[in-house]
């Protein structure tokens, strides 16, 4: 195993990953928890992290990469924004204006879904049903559920992040 100096993942991250090992009868089962841990700390899971996770879990890097890419969730090229906002586009939200809110937010922030603002503050993603259709249209930003969204609430959200809305 690489020494701490050569490693990309910090001791803290490695220890956190290892703390999940007793929960499962196989090392491979720690893959998804490990990806989440790295993603929580770094906001992405670059290839070097994949290689090091594989080393901890005694897997081929391709096995970890295979699982990672199955979920369209983990970014690999660069970190997502400080806040990652998931705007629901599924049925209950869409028919109550969710797609219009998503359009509006992307327009105001000057990005497409999946992209991050130039200042690194915000990534906007579309989401499938967030399980909060009682508050449609809704958005999950970090750990916060934003309920009954409209363009006005979206503007306030952007404003709180210090993102200047375009005058349109």
């Amino acid at each position: 195993m690489a020494t701490a100096q050569e490693r990309f993942l910090s001791d803290e991250i490695v220890d956190e990953i290892k703390s999940y090992i007793p929960r499962y009868p196989s090392l491979q089962a720690v893959t998804l928890p490990a990806l989440h841990i790295v993603n929580r700390h770094l906001r992405y899971v670059p290839m070097q992290a994949v290689i090091e996770i594989a080393e901890i879990l005694e897997l081929a890097p391709a096995q970890v990469q295979d699982t990672l890419t199955f979920y369209g969730f983990f970014k690999q090229d660069k970190p997502h924004g400080q806040v990652r906002a998931w705007v629901c586009r599924s049925m209950s939200c869409a028919i109550r204006g969710g797609e219009a809110v998503l359009d509006h937010m992307c327009h105001q922030a000057g990005i497409h879904p999946g992209e991050t603002t130039a200042d690194g503050k915000l990534t906007v993603e579309y989401a499938e049903c967030l399980g909060a259709c009682d508050f449609a249209p809704c958005m999950l930003a970090g750990d916060d559920l934003h309920k009954n969204l409209d363009k006005n609430k979206a503007d306030i959200f952007l404003d709180d992040l210090g993102i200047k809305a375009k005058k349109s």
Partner: protein, 449 residues
Amino acid sequence: MAEFEPVLLANINRPNSFTRKEYEATGGYQSWKKVLSMDRNDVIDIVKSSNLRGRGGAGFPTGLKWTFLPKDHPGPIYFCLNADESEPGTFNNRILMEQDPHQVLEGLMISSYATRTSTAYIYLRYEYPGCNKRLQDAIDECYAAGYLGDNIQGSGYSLNIYIHQGAAAYICGEETGLIESIEGKRAWPRIKPPFPAIEGVFRKPTVVNNVETVACVKHILDRGADWFKSMGVPADPNNPRDAGSYGPKLYCLSGHVEKPGCYEAPLGLTARQLIEDFGGGCWKGRSVKAVIPGGISMGLLGPDELDCPLDFAGPGKYGCLGLGTAAAVVIDDQTSIVDFLHNSARFFAHESCGQCTPCREGTSWALKMLNRIKAGRGRLKDLDLLAEIGDTIGIIPGTTICGLSDGAAWPIKNAIKKFRGEFEHYIKRTNPDGYMVTDPVPVFETTAH
């Protein structure tokens, strides 16, 4: 329905409903303590005689599922609590886990005991951070109280519960996709048999049950099987395969209604009762054009089918796939059926795991056609092509491994059958010459600027 008193939602509006203290103040964990000195087979018999059927979508009898576990298996046996709740329109598991996590845990603990499980995983969708926190706090409280861990209450029984977070993929709710996901692999559903009860997670016997199902188990142990069977719709005596629809159910209601929400009622409420008595009717004084009876996979009820009872047998009689998650989504008369079907097709094309060709290709072709129709370049014969896709993908026609593709097929089949006139009208209006283009058509996948 005047007599009905909610049990699953009884605690959710109490202050601090999510703490062990509050939970125990209302009788919580009494059944857990009682069960620990009971014979496991007696627990299973009570659940069996209640006729509880799974609340996660398939409606399989819970007690019967448990008896499929090998009798003399030396262990381990695993329990996977399905908290992936991703079927569009569905949010009742979220409310239970967030507002009353101990109710869910007690149900899971009783179910684990009955099935001789010593490790239970809660497969929790990533998008429920609030549930994650409340559940983990509740689990920690249970360890501290000696309700979990080794040799619980001196009974000799040991149980550990771990939360396993998903990563935003609908297919992880399918029980064998869920199992693969726990194992750290891509969530490709397995061919069945073998069923999980014989060979599940880590190739060991495994039980997969939904959050609401185990919550019902708790109340059945509290109040008895007869109480549970006193509610709902009895089995049809003329149909030996009908197992009846007993007990309370958490109905989700969303879309174009005045009061979206989660409502508890005995199984068998009609779509109309749910919308009018609980949901305050269609919003803005408009009228209902269609209702998704139980999550988007189940298809559509037309405006003249609102008396459909939302029990396990009801929606099937109206051409829908089934009761599903009993999550109704109401669509008003100003919504285009083309937009409805486009949204549904986009969901399934996005969520198909890609393992079976008919599902992977069928769902993406359906989306491509609906993109084209929506963009005003549809042809009348596209409707037959779409219907053909609807008839050929799924477990029911026997072409795919899991039921995701049946769920993709049903909205297509129902929408085209029940609303064909509107599709034809739209196509004739937007593409009167039936012109077929070969150049790329706009894609409504992401947003325009």
